[in-house]
Subunit: 340 residues, 2 copies
DNA sequence: GCAAATTCTGCAAACGCTTGCAGCGCAGAC
DNA sequence: GTCTGCGCTGCAAGCGTTTGCAGAATTTGC
C-alpha cells in the first residue's frame, strides 16, 4: 500500500544524503560511541543541512518506552501546584526526562481525558496532583503498572506512592494559635471541592475549634477556588449575620481575595479581623499585610514525588508507600489579638 | 529479531480476546461507523476488560500527524503567560486537540530543547510565547512548515504568524498620564531579558519621558523577573541617589514586589510614590493598593493565536501575517499626583 | 604478507497502530 | 440457481525508529 510520502524529514533521507544506512544515522544521533568519527561528522552534517529532527513517536514506539514524566494538576493557576510542578520539571530535566503537563481545571471529564492521555503516551512516570479522584480512575492507573505518585488522594499500592499532608495538624496549629490570641468566633473559607482533602480540612476545622474552646463558634463559607472566589466568600460572610474575629482560608490564594474584600469594606487586618491562609505561597509574603499561613514544603514534595517514581527511591522498594508531611505555622502580620 | 514482549496491552491482545482482527478493533476504537454493532460491543467489552489504552505514539506514527498543540513559554509562573495558556488550552480542547507545554525558564538551552521536543512530537501547531529567541531557532521552526505563532518575537513568514503588542503606545500612555500628574522624575524597573520586547520597553520609556517633559529625569533598574526581583530592584532604587516620584514596572508581577519593598520602607503609595505595572493580571486588581497598569488582552491574544495556527483563520491565508495589539491604560489606586 | 582480532556498518525485524483494497457471506433480483 | 450488490471484516503494507546479529573493512600480530 502506497501512502503519500510525508514531507517531514526522516532517517532515510539523512542516511541517503550521508551515504550510509539508517542504522548508522540512528547510532550517531543516539551518541553510541561505535561510529567512526569521519562517518559521524558526515552524518551530523547531513542531518543539520536537512533540518532533521527525529520523530519522537517513532522513537518511543521502537524503544518500547518513553522518557516522559507526566504531570496532572487540577489548577495550574494556583502557585501551590506551580511550585511542585517546577521542582518536578527541574528534577526531570536533570535526569534527561521530558515533561508533559495536563490541566484538569477541576473537571472530572478532563481528569479522565488526562489520564487517558498519559497512559496513551506510555509515560515513564506519572504525578497526579488533583484535589479529588474517583476510585475507578485510581485503579486504572494502578493497573497500568506505571510508577505513579498521588498527592493527597487515594491509598498506596503496588506501583503507587502516596504523599499526604497532615492537614489536621496544620489546622489544629492555626486554630490553637488563634485561640491563644483570644479568638472565639472563627470562619472557614473553602472552595467547591467537596471530596478529599478539602473536606478533611473543613471537618478538622470544626473539630479543632470545638476542642480548643468548647464555647467557640465556627462557620463555613464556600466559593470557587481563586482570588475572585475568596472575594466572593468574604462578601457572603460580611453579609451574613456571623461576625467572626478570625477567618481561616483553605489556601493563600483565596486569602488574598478575602483580604481584598475586607479592605474594601474598610476593615483593617489584623486590627478588626485576623486572616490566615494555607500553603505559604510566595505571594503570601508579598501581600498586604503579609499573610499568616501554614507552610507546606512544596519543593520537598516535588523531590519526593520524583524520587519515588523515576528517581533512586524507586529502586529500593517496589511497592508503593505513604509519606506524610507535617506542616508548620508561619506567623506574619495578618493575625493579631481578637478585637474585644 | 525477537524483542521482549511489552507488558502493555496492544491491539492484538484485544483483537484476540474479542475474536476479531486488529483492523476491526482499530475501527471500533476510532468510531468508524462501519462495524456491526454486535462486533462493536464485543470489542469494547474486551478493551474494557483488558484495561486497554491505545498507544498514542503508534497512533500518530501511523496517522502521520498528531493532534497536539505545542506551547512554549518562558515563565509559567507569570500569570500573564498562564492566561494565554488557559485560553489556548480551552480552544484546543474544544477542537479536539491535546496540549503539550514546555517551560524554558528564560534559559536559551531550554528553549532549544523545547523546540526540539515540539518538532520531534510533530505537533499540529506551535505557539511560542517567550521574551527572546535566536533568529536561527526561528528559522528552524519556519523550515519545519508547522503552523506557528510567535508572540512578540521574530517577523512573519510563510507558516508563521506574529502577534505583537504595541509597547510603545502602552508606555507612552503611562508616561504621559504620570506626566499630567506632575511627575518629573521617573524610574523604570525591568528584568534581565536584554533583547526583544523588554528592551523596546526600556528604550521607549526613555524616549517618552524626554518627549513629555524634556527636563524630566529618568533612570532604569534591573533585576530578575518575579516578585523577589521587583523587591530587589526597589531596594536598589531606594539605596541609590535617585529619588523618583513614580516607578514604572515592566510587568505587574514585579510591581507587586516593588510595592512590598516600598511599604516596608514606610513609603505610602501613591502618596509618596506612584507605581505602575504592565499586563493587568488578575492580581493587579487584588493587591494593595490596586495597581494602575496597562491592559493587555490576553484572552484575545490566546484566541488569535489559536485561530491562526489551528483554527479557521488558518484556512484563509496560507502565508503568515502580523497582528498588532493596542493596549490601554487602566488607572487604579497606585498612582496619584507627584509629591511636591 | 597473511590470518586473526578488532572496529565499524548494514540488514531486517520489531514496536503498535491505521487504512486501501480485496474478499467473504448473505440478501435480493432475475 | 446464478448474479449483483452491499455490509462487514481481514490482510498486509507502511509510518520512522531501534537494535541483535552478521558481515565488511580495517588494524594488528607475527
Amino acid at each position: 500500500m502506497r501512502r503519500r510520502r510525508s514531507l517531514a524529514m526522516n532517517l532515510d533521507a539523512v542516511a541517503q544524503k550521508a551515504g550510509v544506512s539508517t542504522s548508522t544515522v540512528s547510532r550517531v544521533l543516539n551518541n553510541l560511541e561505535v561510529v567512526k568519527s569521519s562517518t559521524r561528522s558526515r552524518v551530523l552534517k547531513a542531518a543539520e543541512e536537512l533540518n532533521y529532527h527525529p520523530n519522537l513517536h517513532a522513537r518511543s514506539l521502537a524503544r518500547g518506552k518513553s522518557r516522559i514524566l507526566g504531570i496532572i494538576v487540577s489548577n495550574m493557576e494556583n502557585p501551590f501546584f506551580l511550585d511542585i510542578y517546577r521542582t518536578l520539571e527541574a528534577d526531570a530535566h536533570a535526569r534527561g526526562h521530558e515533561v508533559v503537563v495536563a490541566n484538569t481545571d477541576y473537571q472530572s471529564a478532563q481528569l479522565v481525558a488526562s489520564v487517558q492521555l498519559m497512559l496513551g503516551l506510555r509515560v515513564a512516570g506519572l504525578a497526579v496532583i488533583v484535589s479529588e479522584m474517583e476510585e475507578h480512575l485510581i485503579q486504572t492507573v494502578a493497573n497500568s503498572r506505571i510508577p505513579a505518585a498521588f498527592y493527597d488522594v487515594g491509598t498506596p499500592q503496588r506501583n503507587i506512592t502516596n504523599i499526604r499532608v497532615d492537614y489536621r495538624k496544620g489546622i489544629k496549629k492555626t486554630v490553637s494559635y488563634l485561640s491563644s490570641l483570644g479568638h472565639r468566633r472563627m470562619a472557614f473559607i473553602g472552595h467547591h471541592s467537596t471530596l478529599g482533602p478539602i473536606s478533611e480540612r473543613r471537618k478538622t476545622f470544626l473539630e479543632s475549634v470545638h476542642r480548643c474552646s468548647p464555647a467557640a463558634e465556627a462557620k463555613i463559607f464556600t466559593a470557587p477556588d481563586g482570588l475572585d472566589g475568596g472575594r466572593q466568600a468574604a462578601r457572603e460572610l460580611i453579609e451574613s449575620a456571623f461576625r467572626p474575629t478570625a477567618i481561616l482560608c483553605v489556601n493563600d490564594f483565596m486569602a488574598v481575595g478575602v483580604m481584598r474584600e475586607l479592605r474594601e469594606e474598610g476593615l483593617q487586618i489584623p486590627r478588626d479581623l485576623s486572616v490566615t491562609g494555607f500553603d505559604n505561597i510566595k505571594l503570601a509574603e508579598f501581600c498586604s499585610p503579609p499573610l499568616t499561613t501554614v507552610h507546606i514544603p512544596r519543593e520537598q514534595i516535588g523531590h519526593i514525588i520524583f524520587d519515588n517514581i523515576l528517581g533512586e527511591a524507586r529502586d529500593h522498594h517496589e511497592s508503593g508507600r505513604e509519606i506524610v508531611i507535617d506542616p508548620d505555622l508561619v506567623v506574619r502580620d495578618s493575625t493579631g489579638p481578637a478585637k474585644t
